[in-house]
Symmetry: D3
Subunit: 245 residues, 6 copies
């Protein structure tokens, strides 16, 4: 009987060790180091007392949440040149930071952030696959911490969050659907999907893609089922660290 | 009895009028104007006799397909400033052109484009929702035309395409799942998804997102079913225009 | 007796087939596809309800007309990389769009565009020589159409145009002065001149240059005479398409 | 009887005081300060022992001449911000430096600069109208000086110049054609033309334009006649300073 | 008797708590989190197997050390926008990273890094004054760790370091010379100096400046004496953490 | 007995010939060509009637002084490409212009420039070592001239200068401390320092560095003594040219 085993010995439906180290960047309003195995992302939330120019121009009320993402140059196995050295962001960074922003906004009532922008900064300290999902999952924790403190300080009157949000990757590796891919799995996966879900079990975003491969409805269904299992566990871990605040 | 009706009177599972006008840009190797209703996208495929620098640097064999996307300034209802006037592309354009490139590469054996880059240019002449899906669907037609001509001229020995590819949008509008959203529907949709699929009915990419909303598994399933119906019709239309070549 | 013949068989004083296809970009206020033989340029005019910052800063009254020009990447025989990929416009594009703007402003009373900017966008779909002259000639038609519609809608009270404007190229090719050079003629011409003239037969701009050659007063005189003949014909064609509006 | 007088009392066909101060930038191969009245332009010519990338790529033999132009920030009556502070050149500078390059190349046999690029730098120290014509006229002197020295040092075998070149402005000011406009005249001129001519009296470039005005054939003829008179005098002055070398 | 006291109660010649947390960025060859009180800087050293283009062009042998510095957006009390959002580095960052590079190169025999570039990345996680001195002092530790590991792996044959290097700030605050200024002291200091010194007690760099103030020879002498005391202590701490490797 | 001699025969404590040619850029409010031997720097001061955006945003009163520095392309022995050709300033230029700005601000009471920015432009016409010290020393003269004229015109009520300021380089060359290094000395110096001092003999800035070398307290002391001698002479020359105004 053929035995399938993942490079690090995990079961197909098993997350890596997940940890959120709070107040990693003490000058931010809220921050964590979000660890999914060896992937480590600094997630920091900071309030700014103004809204983007386009909101004013278009007369949109309420507030805004925006995210920025970068790979620190020493996060990868070979040094990654800084984007500033070329003067512009890579397409991949742009995509990821837009995804983080949408994920957070999907669980926030922006009317309850009147006149404010909540900045979400995600900088990858160590990259071992799944940096965008560790970023979104940690960003929620950092943002929720920030919101709690801003409510204590009286800067916010109500909690703008309508739910929690987390993200996880799933993929097809050696013809099996697996949960929470590390770098070794990710680079050889035929299909890679990122699933963003609220704590109530509703999808915020589903992005599944095969760069040089394709997938069937059945494979998609199995990946989504794995994702839901992982997201339920991540949601529990988020609540635990926030409860300890 | 409450009657639901779409702004342009279409049924929920009905595509807009779709047309591919061939050789719209005669200096390209292959080109079409891809029309999904009022959305019109120039799709042009051109062969370049070299590969990107990173392929040489990493010793990757075969060829490459890359895409570029822009909204022409007069494509929108209010004039859209050119990206060159700010010196950099918007995040949205970067995301879309990366998606177009991945969609095409998923149905191509890059080893059969040895030493070549196939450039896919998609410029939106008129935008009325679904520009990225009209771009992908038209890009396949333009690229397949180009490949046919390159084989006739002896520049390519074999057809590198392993299947056709098309894309369509689906979404949730006024609590109903609908197919192929136009601009009016798109701007008010709670959820918007783009589905890229091969002519053989396998998923290439699924991207579903709710900017300030979420969706259930059942809603996702209904959206994917609508998409499959639309994609089957688009695939038929692609074959028809290619057969007429 | 030696017989001179142009590559496409035209007489020395003969224009290419000229056509203006109206409403090519329906979201613009006015637009045409301007065709001079195989040269095809999308010309679109759009009104913006504000004036450039420098006008406010300097207290200049009235409105403004500004133009932008680009070669679409598939317009040339070998693919032309987009300017955005280098982050800046080429000198040639900058020169041409400044020329288009000056040409239009020369026949407009800017006081009759109070508080408005009229944007002229010229994108070359197919380049076969003379793209700047096709752009100027088509830009007038697009702008005049736009003005007519803005007057109908009551946005403009008076027609700001004081005359029509058109442009044509002339040059010295194989020691003969010729009218309306195509690409084959242009690349081998010893001298190349562009002449912009009002419908009343007054010069707006004369630009004659020999990159690695020079020319006499007599040659200049003969080129200007050819240009006047061509410009008279172009003016008639402009009036015809505008009359059909 | 109505008396016309120019702001500085010159006759209509009179140049300003013209002077070329040699070796103004001693580290250049050849240099002058080119003075047309209060307009002062540093013109420097420097040889580089390589050709532009496009010449190698296209297999073009010989050498190249390229020019760069800038207004120093203290050259104008109110300080002009440096282009580097915005990260890109203005359209006006791009146009002028392209014109200077073409003017020089028109009187040079590039085959006699094998493998070399001759850089022409023109920086305006004081601007009082006609900076581009002072630049071209001085650039020829600097470049010719440089060529003489390079021949002495054996770096060049033959003189690549086939003729001299100079430039002057003419215009229509208060309904009169005048020669060599200063700033006061230039800003109120209805028509402004720049004429570049060889020492043998052949045109290199004619650029006549009315920003918000137009001109007749007779006016053009009178302007060209004035330009020829001025250019003949400038050519004599160029020869004098070069003879003193 | 008037009592002078520093905001945090330190003596004038007292360093803040200094700590170097090793392997903070495990994918770098060597790394520490360098802590001077609340100032925390990630310092990472990574070897690249090539030298800068100018070394090849100029035929310079040996290797190179180069540094990059950034303030992470959440390091400051109010969020600091990323430099990439403006497309260019601030002058302050450029100055600091050039200083870090010079400091390291002053204690390295570049011939013993043949064909290599040692990249030093310094990213500030928390800023409370003295980020450049914490960066230099930590950078030496990270680089020395990296060198030890590269020698173990046989990539380097010899230790290129000729000495250790550290840096500290001194300044004049409320008319007293003080050591190792925190942010509160730094922003009100009349004079601020940074001193870089080898472990052997020789100066590498002395930079003393008063933005809107000046200082006497005696004040400079007292500041340098304080710096030497602090640098001797920092050198001892560097050796301790390196000995524990 | 071994005889040390400097390349140009000067004594170790001897300045080069120093001259300030006034009104070199007549359109500036004040200007000089600052000559230290063959090093020639255009220094121009111009008043702008507004303050930087950050002053308004932070509610800072008074005025500002800011400096810009560039090497003209023909100032160096081999042509130096313009910074605009790469779209950004070099680190070296940024450092130098920040130093010039700080030096001037240190001797100015910014409250006496209410609502104004004094721009200091320094462009190097010929570079032979010490361009930044010639720039600072000349910038003071230009700025002081400008201030005198602005007081005459009634634009400034009081002289904002509290002292004069000058700068000089010192270094260690062939194991000797020398004053005012030219290019030949500078490129082989083990240590290079720039000292900025007021006319009253107080330090404004001391920057001493050894790129691949280090220095002792005694060497620093000897360099500072040389600098003071030179700065005293420079101050006398500054007063002389200003007295002649």
């Amino acid at each position: 009987m053929e035995i399938f085993s993942r490079p690090d010995g995990r079961a197909c439906d098993e997350l890596r060790a997940v940890e959120f180290i709070p107040d990693f960047a003490p000058n931010a309003t809220g921050s964590v180091l979000s660890c999914f195995g060896s992937t480590r992302v600094v997630c920091a939330a900071t309030l700014e007392e103004k809204v983007p120019g386009w909101m004013k121009a278009q007369g949109v009320t309420g507030g805004w949440i925006t995210a920025e993402y970068s790979l620190l140059p020493y996060s990868t196995l070979t040094r990654k040149p800084r984007e500033i050295s070329k003067g512009k962001q890579e397409g991949r960074s742009v995509e990821i930071q837009r995804l983080i922003g949408r994920a957070l906004r999907a669980v926030v009532d922006l009317q309850k952030l009147p006149g404010y922008t909540l900045w979400i900064d995600c900088d990858v300290l160590q990259a071992d696959g799944g940096t965008r999902t560790a970023a979104i999952t940690g960003a929620y924790v950092a943002a929720r911490m920030a919101v709690g403190r801003l409510m204590e300080r009286g800067l916010l009157k109500e909690n703008p969050f309508t739910s929690s949000v987390a993200a996880v990757s799933v993929g097809i590796f050696q013809d099996r659907e697996i949960l929470d891919l590390n770098y070794l799995e990710d680079k050889d996966a035929a299909v890679d999907a990122n699933v963003v879900m609220t704590g109530c079990g509703r999808f915020v975003e589903v992005q599944g893609a095969g760069e040089e491969s394709t997938f069937s409805q059945e494979q998609l269904d199995r990946m989504l089922a794995l994702a839901k299992k992982g997201l339920s566990e991540l949601s529990t871990k988020q609540q635990a660290v926030l409860a300890a605040e």
